[in-house]
Amino acid sequence: MVVKNLKIIIVLWLAMLVFFSHSVSAELTIQITGGTKSAIPVAVVPFAWRGVSGHAPINVASIVSADLTRSGHFKTLPVRDMINKPSRTEAIKLGNWRALAQDYLVIGEIKQNQDRFIIEFKLFDVYRGKQLLGYRLPATARGLRRTVHRISDLVYEELTGLKGVFNSRIAYVTQKKKSKRVSIYRLKVADSDGFNPKVIASSREPIMSPAWSPDGKKIAYVSFEKKKHRIFIQTLATGQRSTIPRGRGINGAPAWSPDGSQLAITLSKDGSPDIYVVDLNNRSWQKLTKSYAIDTEPAWSPDGRQIVFTSDRGGKPQLYTIPSHGGSAKRLTYQGDYNARGSFSKDGRKLVMVHGNRGDYRIAIMDMATKVFSILTKGPLDESPTFSANSGMVLYAKIMNDKGVLSATSVDGSMNQVLTFDKGDVREPAWSQ
């Protein structure tokens, strides 16, 4: 079924209050814009509630719809357009969904068993009249949202063949001004859609450059506590943190090796900022670059053999690569007058970066084989791009209405999602892998 114009603009004013048990609330607004002709039509029917109280504790269908929509691969049917709302297989009238030009259908229900929940869902191929998936997923009250994102992942994986990333997490830094000269910086971790934020570190001095360990259990970051740069590695489950030996000057830009055993960092202890590799087992350093220019923002290739970094050794910031065991650097980018903060896609075929031209900064992706650039965002102040684990989306920071916000875009640039937090500026996102 061909749908002619799928240029859709969906604005989901979820504006839902995220409740903490101590009545601290943070308001989050998610705005999704865009659409592609190839988006697959899917109907996610509101899930039936079979519990003791009056209504379900969570709107499964709206969360799954939002997840699928922002991936750029799907177009979801608005609830008001549904002719009926089945929650069980026997109530499905396939003709209705065919008439609505839906390729796939998701139905389900939430059951309550004292303080635990069971979410059942099924995915159908409308044209073949065949069930593709059927799951019963148990959840605690606190774990409900993550479980719903898991449903999005399962549907996404079944229909696209790609790994879903909705059940992943993001880290980011918020800055809230208390007065002209005093701000509170907080490092937070949230679900991939910005919900359930938790503070993992806070300081009156800046916090920067969070980086997830490959296993998702730790975050390395830079903190300026006591007016000194220091790189910390914090274990999320316990809140415990360790530091790596610091040098005088800049200690920054931590990047985990793919196996998690090494950290590439920037140190300026010898004068200008250079790239070093730190072995996390014995904390020994190896200096990789030795230029008099700025060398910073290292990131590893997926095979661990190369490190891409930003350097202004040619006059302007551009991206270079260097073997991770040492060797000579090779220039990678020539387009535009500013290319920085590169990082590789999972398959190593793409490089995402901040791409600047005459003071306009956008997120761009370079194809490593053809060296062709594609510009993903509209600028003018976009920075800190981070790939999702399946490399299908890029999360980055931008300024919107005078506020620092996070934005996610599909790698073809067709879908865009903005996460606006009620208070303060948000920056430096990092997506767990």
Binding site: S21, V24, G143, V189, R204, P206, K226, G239, E297
Partner: protein, 185 residues
């Protein structure tokens, strides 16, 4: 005209926060399981109240006399930079010289050079750029006889803008090195 504008910027009083040694930080667990972490989420709110303890004082009230006198070059303590540049412009050279002379005459006095960048471009690159700016000022001080031990550098990149805006007017005030004197103990 442009120089005149720059001088006006320099007159903006530099305030610095003495609370640096009491930087209040804490770390918290992230409960992947059902572990109760919500209580920790309020950590920030508690800290916010403690901010009342912070004293904001000027170089002038700390150092006295000449730092308060608008006719003295020592009252000027912010050096501004051009876009993507770490070159100290001639108009600011005499400000740096005034501080150099003071530091040479008071060799027990220590100074912090805080490097800053505007928000454009990548945050870690901006940290490096702002360090280069602070080092350019440090080099000028040292060339005039200030001991390296008297100088400490910290580069903040774009993380601590002096102005909130997202336009040229804010950016040119945010590309700066702030000279602040450390309290003598």
């Amino acid at each position: 005209m442009k120089a005149c504008l720059q001088w006006m910027m320099v007159f903006s009083v530099v305030v610095f926060v003495v609370g640096c040694s009491s930087t209040n930080k804490k770390t918290e667990g992230f409960g992947g399981s059902d572990a109760v972490t919500s209580g920790y989420s309020e950590g920030g709110a508690i800290q916010d109240e403690r901010l009342g303890d912070l004293e904001e004082i000027t170089n002038g009230s700390l150092m006295g006399g000449e730092f308060n006198n608008p006719d003295s070059l020592l009252s000027k303590s912010v050096i501004y930079f051009m876009f993507d540049s770490s070159e100290v412009q001639p108009v600011f050279a005499e400000v740096v010289t005034a501080h150099a002379q003071y530091l040479v005459a008071n060799s027990g006095q220590r100074v912090i050079l805080e490097g800053h960048a505007d928000e454009r471009g990548s945050p870690e690159y901006n940290v490096a750029l702002s360090e280069r700016r602070a080092k350019a000022v440090a080099r000028m001080l040292e060339m005039q006889g200030v001991f390296p031990e008297q100088i400490e550098i910290i580069s903040y990149g774009e993380m601590k803008p002096s102005e909130d805006g997202h336009d040229q007017a804010a950016w040119q005030l945010n590309r700066r090195v702030e000279i602040t004197y450390q309290a003598q103990s």
